[in-house]
């Protein structure tokens, strides 16, 4: 038995990636789950609009952080709603139109909306010891939950899940497909065949692209038909976002396979990119609840941006104009990752050219 144990440790030591995973994973999970994983919402980005709005803002409990104030112009209510639609705030307080202030809450930010709602309910029933002025200011508010009035979890999960599935097919499955070729020794044969590297690259990727798109359509159809998730925005904007995101995940898949020798290694690496995306992209835990020291990681992950796009478009009918930043980031990341993947791919498909 001792011989067996010694052999096992020897092999473990040789397999650097497994070793790294064993050490990195617990630390990563500890950091993520310890610092990042939180359903508690401490900051609620808020906009205020209408006469007496500034006073109302003053009167709000501390967790409501005023992000913007009505600059004038069109109707305050319309402005406030656009702020929510474009994802600039989770709560909007509008005064002037009704007797008391109207509070608009973005239901597509589930946990933030719940936290905001709790605050108002608690205030109104006097459970929280607040000053008289606060109580007076929000005593007669009317709350409206927009986009997800019943605060259903499925509304926010399914647009996010669509992204996870694209990561799964694009990165995990694709990386396996290319490594299989290398492991079987057939990649070398492809290099000798009358195929251009681009033929091999595209030929390898197109099937997975088709599968990813089919999966996406299925998830959306089931989400809309079975779970009643609304699709309010433009299909074209969503499609463009999905296309850019698939571009990133496929590129990542090929890149992973180009640095892996076996399918096991590819799976390991792919899972290492999948896990942080699932945990940190805002899919489960709200981004604003993630500690700033870890949150920057979230802003590097492509799924963060796709989740933003898919929720914005599906639930809030967010127009493309206010989504330019996630679109630009995905396009940039996709170009970088795919460029790197093609460069690595060429090295063993055109040995004369790349060396």
């Amino acid at each position: 038995m001792r011989a067996m144990i010694v052999k096992e440790f020897r092999q473990l030591r040789r397999d650097r990636r497994t070793l790294a995973m064993m050490i990195v994973m617990p630390v990563l999970l500890l950091v993520i789950l310890g610092y990042a994983a939180s359903f508690d919402v401490s900051d609620i980005p808020t906009v205020v609009a209408g006469p007496g709005a500034a006073a109302a803002a003053q009167a709000l409990p501390k967790s409501f952080k005023v992000a913007a104030t009505y600059p004038g112009g069109a109707s305050p209510a319309a402005w406030a709603q656009n702020q929510l639609r474009d994802g600039h705030a989770a709560v909007a307080i509008v005064t002037g139109s009704a007797p008391g202030p109207t509070v608009l809450i973005d239901g597509s930010q589930l946990f933030t909306a719940q936290a905001a709602l709790r605050q108002f309910v608690a205030e109104r029933s006097g459970q929280v010891g607040t000053t008289a002025s606060v109580s007076a200011a929000i005593a007669d508010v009317t709350t409206h939950i927009l986009y997800n009035p019943e605060l259903k979890t499925s509304y926010i999960m399914i647009p996010g899940l669509a992204g996870v599935i694209l990561v799964f097919v694009g990165t995990v499955i694709t990386s396996l497909g290319v490594v299989r070729e290398r492991q079987a020794g057939t990649l070398e044969q492809l290099a000798v065949m009358p195929l251009r590297p681009a033929d091999v690259f595209l030929g390898k990727i197109v099937p997975y692209f088709v599968v990813a798109v089919a999966d996406l359509v299925i998830v959306l159809a089931v989400g809309v038909a079975v779970f009643g998730v609304p699709f309010r925005g433009s299909l074209a904007v969503f499609g463009l976002g999905a296309l850019l995101f698939v571009f990133v995940t496929l590129g990542l898949g090929v890149l992973i396979s180009s640095v892996s020798q076996t399918q096991g290694q590819a799976i390991q690496l792919a899972v290492m990119t999948l896990l942080p995306q699932v945990l940190l992209s805002g899919l489960i835990f709200p981004l604003t609840s993630i500690v700033a020291g870890v949150r920057w990681i979230a802003y590097l992950l492509p799924l963060t941006y796709f989740t933003e796009i898919s929720r914005g478009v599906m639930l809030r009918a967010q127009p493309i104009g206010s989504l330019w930043a996630p679109f630009a980031y995905l396009a940039l990341l996709g170009t970088a990752v795919t460029g790197l993947a093609i460069w690595r791919f060429r090295a063993f498909l055109a040995p004369g050219a790349a060396r």
Binding site: A184, G185, T186, E188, Q189, A191, M193, P194, P351, G352
Partner: protein
Amino acid sequence: MTAAWGAEAVSVSFGARRALDQVTVGAPPGQVTAVVGGDGAGKTTLLRCVAGALAPSGGPAGGRVRRPAAGRIGYLPPGPGVYDDLTVAENLRFRSAVYRVPEAAAGPLTGEYLERTGLAAVRDRLAGQLSGGMRRKLAVIAAMLPGPELLVLDEPTTGVDPVSRADLWWLIARAAADGAAVLMSTTYLDEAARAAHVLVLDAGRPLAAGTPAEIVAAVPGTIAVRPGPPADADERRRAWRRAGTWRVWQPDGVPAAGSVRPDLQDAVCVAALRAELERAGLAGAHA
């Protein structure tokens, strides 16, 4: 010799290790050229260079490779060379599609090759479920199917049973008869003896080259057969075991009783011994 493909003074390094050092090999059309040598001699590296899967190291200084356009090369890599999760027929169809072999030509040819090598009955079986020999035959057929001008086969017969080996040799001979320049590696010297030209590699360097007869004729001295290992320490350095007896190379010996005519296997052993003695700076090296 017309338009021989092959390598000229090719060198390849992997990091600090020199896998091939100034190796030249020609592959004339219609003939079989065999590269022999032990494990790590550089056979696979040389064949990869000729096939185009690997570039010689150091640019133009690494030597020159002459090969036809990619569509006119058939290459059997050291691995399986076929897709395990495709059937025999699907593997061949993929190959003829990539090489744009018209169906009218590919169909009958595929039928004939499969029939002749006993694979016709397993057309629809997954390549991964074939025996080692059958899979090797399939891979060679796949490489031959487009009718290449240059056919590079990396150890097509290693680990294959004698019947399948005979089938493989039928395929190889057929490719050469059809005009292909066949460059193959093997660890079996009886196979190399059937080739028109042989290159013996050792540690990335050419030990001997020529027709099998030329290589045998170039053995200096004589070879003596002994029942047991020679007692003399100097003789033992020049001795090897073969079929239950011992053979000793005598660089300055004259044919006498107890000496045998060397064959290709003896010639390769002598060439390897000479290289070893030369490295050690011992007598007999420059005989």
